[in-house]
Every structure is written in structure tokens, then in C-alpha cells.
């Protein structure tokens, strides 16, 4: 630590001060310093000054820690699903190893846990690198041009983005989506803390509407190795496996039976299934949620309201319609086990920037996300999953919810006075 501190102090004069050589790159230096050490800037000596070491960077680090179980599971499961798919569809074909597998050759016939992890790393590392590289690159570029400090909001977004896309996503599409969301969803609004929409959700929505073939359907969820000749790339040739919600959507009989024929409840809970990279394991999400609630960083109000509302809306729609077949017939609690709702409500909806600030507003916001998710899942034939769009839609209404909650509060207090 001492060594790092000394190194930074030596470099400081290169960047600090208007005439210094590399003053243009000051935001970069500043962000590196405050990332490593809690800053000691204070206001003048005579003023009251409240200090807390839990600044934005520390908050972001806490969210990253909460995301680690999901990331670890994503790495493991990407490998597991790959070899599972290969065992079914690779018979008689020659196995082409990827760049990391060239160093640690897998035993294809009987892959070990180590082989799973190697394949997972081989696929997840490039996704993380592209997500962070493109996003942070744009952030730093904007900070230098606009002469602002580089802020850390993207540390979490970059990780979230890697976890909510299919592991087979072509990297150029990911880069395009990230560039769209960071420039048009965040930087033009003034950067971290000013955006209206959650950038990670915007990336996914952009990819969803622009490249539907690579982010939805049954074929994209297991990553492969073959060097792609055109789109879709990185798939196991010929393999297709519907996600839990796709099974539910296509069910012509009772959806709950159809779901259990495809996946057991334990599979759904522990995440032994196909889906976007990080959202499958409900256990990993719950661990993250517990950490966020314990540290007070994620809003438990949003999470609780979302979960309660999801189950209640599913219950109401199921019993009001009396449907025995089709997606409406899924048991209410099974909606929690399918798809990305838990991940979305824990990590996306609690984003303090794009959600309401008032406590009552948070309840309303979470409840509406749960309700709209159920609406899309049950009665919109176009999409199997509604979490992403529900959160984006409520992002658009979050300032409105806040405004009217505050106005009602003012009115109540005026009447009392």
C-alpha cells in the first residue's frame, strides 16, 4: 500500500496543476487514485464537514461483491451447458478447442469440473473485457472532453451487462449495444447519477430489438466454440434448448406440468438450466440480495414490493381467468423461479439513479414492475419474458411517481398546518 501511495504521489505533479505536462489526462489519474484510496478532500477549515468513507466507489464495489455469486455461477454454468450441448449434438464431429482450451485441453468425452470452468472463463472473459473496455473507454473519453472526474457508475453496469446477455452473444453486437447505452442513455444526460434509464437494461433492450436472432429464441443459450462464418456465431451447431419461460410460453397444456417436465424445481432454483449468462441461479441472486440488504445499499422496499406484487398479480390473473392451459396457468410462485425476474428486481430495479427516491415511491415502483412483468408473461404473445421491459417502462415513470408522492405529501402537511 505504501508503495502504491508513493507511486501516486510521485506521479501527481505530472497531472495536477494547469501547466503540468499531462493535465488533459487528470480525470484518468484522479479516478485511479480515488479508486485505490478513499479521497481526503475536505471543504474549508471553518465549515461543518460530514465525512463518510462510503463514497460512490465503495458503494459500487459492494454491488460488485454482491454480483460475484452470479458471476461465478455464470462461468461454471456456461461451461456446463456447453459440454451438455456438445454431448448431445457433437457426436461424430471434431471438437475445435478455443484459445484458453488450447492451453488446458479438455477431455471432451468426460469433461471435468475444471474443463467447465476453463470454457466458462474462455467465454465470459471476452464478454467482460468488451463490456468494460467499450463502456469505460467512452466514459473516460467523455470525462476528458468535458473536463470532469471519471465516475464509477460503469463498474457495476459493465458487470451487469455481461450477466444479462446470452453467453453466445457476438462480441461486436455487444460492443454496439454498450456504445448505444452509454452514449445515448447516460453520457448525453450528464453521466453517472443523471441518467433516466438503467444503462444495462438499455443495452439488453437495444440488442433485443436490433438483433433478435442472437438474443432470443431457443438456439442461442448454449455457447460453442466454432469460429463463426457469419451470424449466429459461437453456437453449438444444431443445438437448441428452450429456456424455462419459453417452455411456459409455448405450453398448450398446463404450463406448470410442462415446466416440471423440462426442469425440476431444484434445477430452476440452483440454476442448472439455459438462459442469459448470470441470471439463472436463484440461489446466487438471493445471496447477492442478502448482501445488498444487509449493507443497506439495495432498497429492500423495491425488492419486497416487486416479489409480492409478482406473486399476487400472477395469482389474481390465474384465478380470475380460471385458465387451465397456456402461460396463464403457471403457478404463481413458479414465476419467481423462471426467467430473470429475481435478478432484475434485485440488481436492476434497485439502481438508486433510475428508481424513485421516496419510500412510498419505491413501493409503488416495485409493485408496478411485478405487475407489468406478469402482464407481459401471461397475455403478451410477442415476448416470453417481461422483466426487462417492465423495468425500463417504470424507469420512465419513476420521476413521475416521485413527483406525485412529494406533491401528495406536501398537500397532506399543508392541510395539517
Amino acid at each position: 500500500m505504501k508503495f502504491l501511495r508513493n507511486l501516486i504521489e510521485k506521479q501527481r505533479k505530472l497531472y495536477h496543476g494547469k501547466d503540468s505536462k499531462l493535465h488533459k489526462l487528470w480525470p484518468l489519474f484522479d479516478s485511479a487514485e480515488t479508486f485505490l484510496f478513499a479521497p481526503e478532500h475536505r471543504t474549508g477549515p471553518q465549515r461543518v464537514h460530514v465525512r463518510d468513507y462510503v463514497d460512490l466507489k465503495r458503494v459500487m464495489n459492494a454491488v460488485i461483491i454482491a454480483l460475484l455469486p452470479c458471476l461465478l455461477w455464470a462461468i461454471w454454468n456456461t461451461g456446463a451447458q456447453h459440454f451438455h450441448a456438445w454431448a448431445k449434438f457433437g457426436v461424430g464431429k471434431e471438437y475445435v478447442a478455443g484459445w484458453l482450451q488450447a492451453l488446458f485441453p479438455p477431455t471432451v468425452a468426460e469433461p471435468s469440473a475444471f474443463d467447465f470452468v476453463i470454457f466458462g472463463l474462455q467465454r465470459m472473459l471476452p464478454i467482460l473485457i468488451v463490456s468494460y473496455g467499450v463502456g469505460l473507454g467512452i466514459e473516460v473519453f467523455f470525462s476528458i472532453i468535458r473536463k470532469e472526474e471519471v465516475s464509477e457508475g460503469y463498474l457495476v453496469s459493465g458487470m451487469l451487462i455481461a450477466l444479462i446477455v446470452p453467453a453466445s452473444i457476438p462480441l461486436w453486437q455487444l460492443a454496439l449495444g454498450v456504445a448505444f447505452a452509454v452514449v445515448l442513455g447516460k453520457e448525453v444526460f450528464g453521466g453517472t447519477g443523471m441518467n433516466i434509464f438503467n444503462p444495462a437494461m438499455l443495452v439488453r433492450a437495444f440488442l433485443f430489438f436490433s438483433f433478435a436472432g442472437q438474443i432470443s429464441g431457443d438456439a442461442v443459450w448454449a455457447a460453442g466454440n466454432q469460429a463463426p462464418t457469419g451470424v449466429p456465431g459461437y453456437l453449438v451447431d444444431g443445438y437448441s434448448s428452450p429456456t424455462a419461460l419459453a417452455v411456459v410460453k409455448q405450453a398448450t397444456t398446463n404450463a406448470s406440468d410442462a415446466l416440471q417436465a423440462a426442469y425440476t424445481h431444484a434445477d430452476l432454483f440452483f440454476g442448472n438450466m439455459t438462459g442469459s449468462a448470470g441470471e439463472m441461479s436463484k440461489l446466487a441472486v438471493l445471496l447477492g440480495a442478502a448482501y445488498l440488504i444487509f449493507t443497506g445499499i439495495g432498497s429492500w422496499r423495491v425488492m419486497l414490493a416487486g416479489v409480492l406484487s409478482l406473486v399476487a398479480s400472477a395469482f389474481l390473473i390465474k384465478f380470475a381467468s380460471g385458465a387451465e392451459t397456456g402461460p396463464i396457468s403457471l403457478l404463481p410462485y413458479e414465476h419467481l423461479l423462471c426467467g430473470g425476474f429475481l435478478f432484475g428486481i434485485v440488481f436492476m430495479a434497485t439502481d438508486p439513479v433510475s428508481s424513485p427516491e421516496t419510500n412510498l415511491g419505491k413501493w409503488i415502483y416495485g409493485a408496478l414492475i411485478g405487475f407489468v412483468t406478469i402482464l407481459v408473461r401471461t397475455i403478451n404473445p410477442a415476448y416470453p419474458e417481461g422483466t426487462m421491459l417492465a423495468i425500463l417502462l417504470m424507469n420512465a415513470f419513476a420521476p413521475g411517481i416521485d413527483h406525485f408522492v412529494v406533491a401528495a405529501n406536501q398537500k397532506r402537511r399543508m392541510a395539517r398546518a
Binding site: V188, I196, F197, S321, I328, A382, Y383, L393, A396
Partner: protein
């Protein structure tokens, strides 16, 4: 289930209403009525006022234009007056614009006379929306989709409400963005257009229902 399907079929009134508010939101999926939307969404209270005024005018003009369309303008509509071959549909635009302007004018005077308080809140917005393309657009959609009278009235409430929701949410978003450090060239209209695009993307939640 059958009740649900009947509810969701295209012609039923709840379906016409929900479609016009969310799925085919007149502002966010057709981008009609943009000029007053951009100009008046600066303040939340004026946005609420204009939103209510649009609902008000839609509710009045759509049924009236339906009557005009069915009994005067469309092909063979004048059969009741003894002209079964008449086809005045080339006059649709002109008639609708005139009737909307007339209704707005009459309503404005009536409100001024009977409820000065409401006039103070709504009055300045009423002439503004006489030329709002969301109003004319609503009437023309009604013709194109061959709505019945009840459907036209429902569509009036729904499309007006959809427009009101869009402008109020945009006004609150702009209220929140008042402290945002938006790049100079994008301040004002630029960022509002970008935000509108993103909100429209979020509204694609309902497309397909």
C-alpha cells in the same frame, strides 16, 4: 379463459381502450402531437393541464366527427337526405379541422362563462390544441379503422389519456433533469427528443398484445 379472450379481442371496448392508451399510444408509437408535447412539457402543472384539455377535446370531437363521417361525408352517407350516390369523403380533412376548431371555440366560451376557475386552468391550452395533430389524427384513425359510435367514444377517452400520460411522464422526467449536466448543444429540445425515443422504446413492452 373464454371471457378473457372476448375481453382481449380487437373490437371489444376494454380492448379498444387499452390499445389506445398503451399499445398504440398516439404520441409514443405514432409521434402525433409532438409540437405541443415538446413545448409544454417543461413544467409539470402545465403538462397536467394540457393533458386534461386533450382528453376533454378528444372526447368531444371524436363522437362528433363520427356523426359527420357517418351521416354526411362517407360514400352514400347522404342517403337519408335523398342523395344515395353522394360521396363527400374528399372533404374529410377540411370538415374535421373546421369541426375541431369550432368545438374548441364553443367549449372555450362555455367554460369561460360557466366555470371561470376551470377556464383559468385550461383556458390557454384549448386554442393551442385546436391545431394539435393528435386530435385530427385521432379522428382520421377512427375513420380508417371503421369504428362504431361506442368504439369511437372509447377511443377518444383512451387516446387522449395515452397522450396525457406521455406528456406528464415527460414533464416529470424533464423536471428531474433540470440539474443534469447535459452537453450544451443537446440542451432543451435535443435531449427531449432523445428521451422521447427511449421512452417510446420502453413502451414497446406492450407491442404485440
Amino acid at each position: 379463459m373464454t371471457a378473457m379472450i372476448a375481453l382481449m379481442s380487437d373490437e371489444s371496448l376494454p380492448s379498444v381502450f387499452l390499445r389506445s392508451v398503451f399499445v398504440e399510444n398516439i404520441l409514443l408509437s405514432f409521434f402525433l402531437g409532438m409540437c405541443s408535447y415538446l413545448a409544454v412539457s417543461k413544467r409539470v402543472d402545465s403538462a397536467v393541464g394540457l393533458g386534461i384539455a386533450v382528453v376533454f377535446v378528444q372526447v368531444l370531437t371524436l363522437p362528433m366527427n363520427w356523426v359527420l363521417q357517418t351521416y354526411v361525408l362517407s360514400e352514400g352517407a347522404l342517403a337519408w337526405a335523398g342523395f344515395p350516390e353522394s360521396d363527400l369523403s374528399y372533404l374529410t380533412f377540411l370538415t374535421f379541422i373546421a369541426s375541431i376548431a369550432a368545438v374548441v371555440q364553443v367549449v372555450e366560451m362555455a367554460v369561460d362563462k360557466f366555470s371561470p376557475k376551470l377556464y383559468a386552468a385550461l383556458g390557454i391550452f384549448l386554442p393551442l390544441i385546436a391545431v394539435n395533430c393528435a386530435i385530427l389524427g385521432g379522428s382520421l384513425f377512427m375513420v380508417e379503422r371503421k369504428y362504431t359510435f361506442a368504439q369511437a367514444a372509447t377511443y377518444g377517452v383512451g387516446s387522449g389519456l395515452g397522450w396525457a400520460i406521455a406528456i406528464i411522464s415527460m414533464a416529470t422526467i424533464r423536471w428531474r433533469m433540470r440539474t443534469a449536466h447535459v452537453p450544451g448543444p443537446l440542451k432543451g429540445l435535443g435531449i427531449t427528443f432523445i428521451t422521447t425515443g427511449l421512452v417510446a422504446m420502453a413502451f414497446m413492452t406492450f407491442s404485440g398484445i
